[in-house]
Symmetry: D2
Subunit: 144 residues, 4 copies
């Protein structure tokens, strides 16, 4: 079970709507798209904190592939509903970073899913590497 | 950590290739597509065992939404590589069923990812329901 | 060739960002996702004009499956770039409706792609049906 | 309108099944996935003809981004149906190549969609480039 994202721990929040192409024949969003929404959450969190992920890749040569992911689904997300994605950094240790997520329906606050992703810092060839000091500082600041 | 899918526990095996649209700018398959490949694995397993999932929905009114999913990524999947998806049923209890997966590179057997999905049997309105007796028998047979 | 979406013909405009999962190993957004962005454009256009598409399906039993689509790609869309999607209704005739799109990079206005989709109004069983009078009025108003 | 893919013009044929994640709340495959299936068709065609696309990119530095795409949808593709994808090369001129596709339901041969994609040969930086002579020979052979 992913740890619950406590309100006081919320570091970033962004919104999106469920796209038609994200629904499936069960009439609700397919479970795989929650991983894409988690990704939206961490993209916005990193941008807000001054380390946009695209620049990390392009300028620093640091990549954060996902090495572990979990998702717990509580209620369905429906077409065109506005979703609120809360994201926090749970830990930064060595070359590892863990993000936690909570996705809720914006209209009434119902929690639809929680989850987590663990990432390893690697270089362009996929070899583990240390995070640049400034990046670590910004990320650790996120968790303060 | 998902339990390792032991060779003796492999119940179904299917293959697919990494599509171009499944790769991302890191040059490898995006992590979210492993959930779709897990789904391929359980679709084929259920077909082989005489309970094709589409017929469950259309004829029996039984749906198996995912309520929990995990994935552990060990090595990247590259464009056009053939993947081997091993799937087993780990447990069938009440209205819950758990599948476990291991995805390996067909060319050399390298394990790329393992994972699990837990499903709840529900009716067309999303209410929990018992699995039909015959379905349960077939599924429990899978685990024998 | 889709007709160019002239500035004076722009009926709706919405924005989105290129997601990581939408990029491919060429380092840019995969061409198939432009169809999803076109869909975002018409979803927002219909919402603004008082006929949200989800309500059409759920309340009126009117569905608008795509029967023809075109896309002309001029320049790549890159990860995390903000896109501006301009959408207009090109024609409403009988049970047919044609939308046209122009997607540009928000930062500098460069046009990345243009396209069109043609839709047929059908009922829940896929049979052609007339559009409700009020819907037609709203849609024709769009084209005025 | 894309030219119809005549049986005598079929150069390659491959099969796939409609995945659950490819369906939408209309209960059928979302139109955007046909572009991914077209891509499967040309991937297999190029492999059969001795020029696997991945090797073109990795060894020759030749990329074939899509510059124009069309799709005409005639009948819905449903979950788990086996699809047959017929692909032919319609023209190779200068740095441009056009593929045409016809997707049918394997069970009864019903044509579900036809379409085309036009590609421009470019280098890793996206600049137009000549196709290597051997590649052109193989591709022109395809059209013979």
């Amino acid at each position: 079970m992913p740890r619950v994202v406590e309100p006081q721990g919320v570091e970033g929040r962004t919104v999106t709507r469920v796209r038609y192409t994200e629904t499936d024949r069960m009439g609700v969003a397919h479970h795989s798209h929650f991983l894409a929404w988690f990704e939206l959450g961490r993209t916005e969190l990193m941008r807000e904190r001054g380390c946009p992920y695209g620049e990390l890749e392009d300028r620093e040569g640091v990549f954060f592939p996902v090495i572990h992911a979990t998702a717990a689904y509580r209620a369905p997300a429906r077409y065109d509903e506005q979703l609120s994605i809360a994201t926090r950094i749970a830990s930064v240790r060595g070359a590892r970073i863990v993000f936690e997520y909570e996705i809720s329906r914006a209209a009434d606050g119902t929690v639809l899913a929680t989850g987590s992703t663990e990432h390893a810092a690697v270089d362009a060839r996929g070899r583990p590497r240390r995070m640049p000091a400034e990046l670590r500082r910004k990320l650790e600041g996120l968790d303060a």
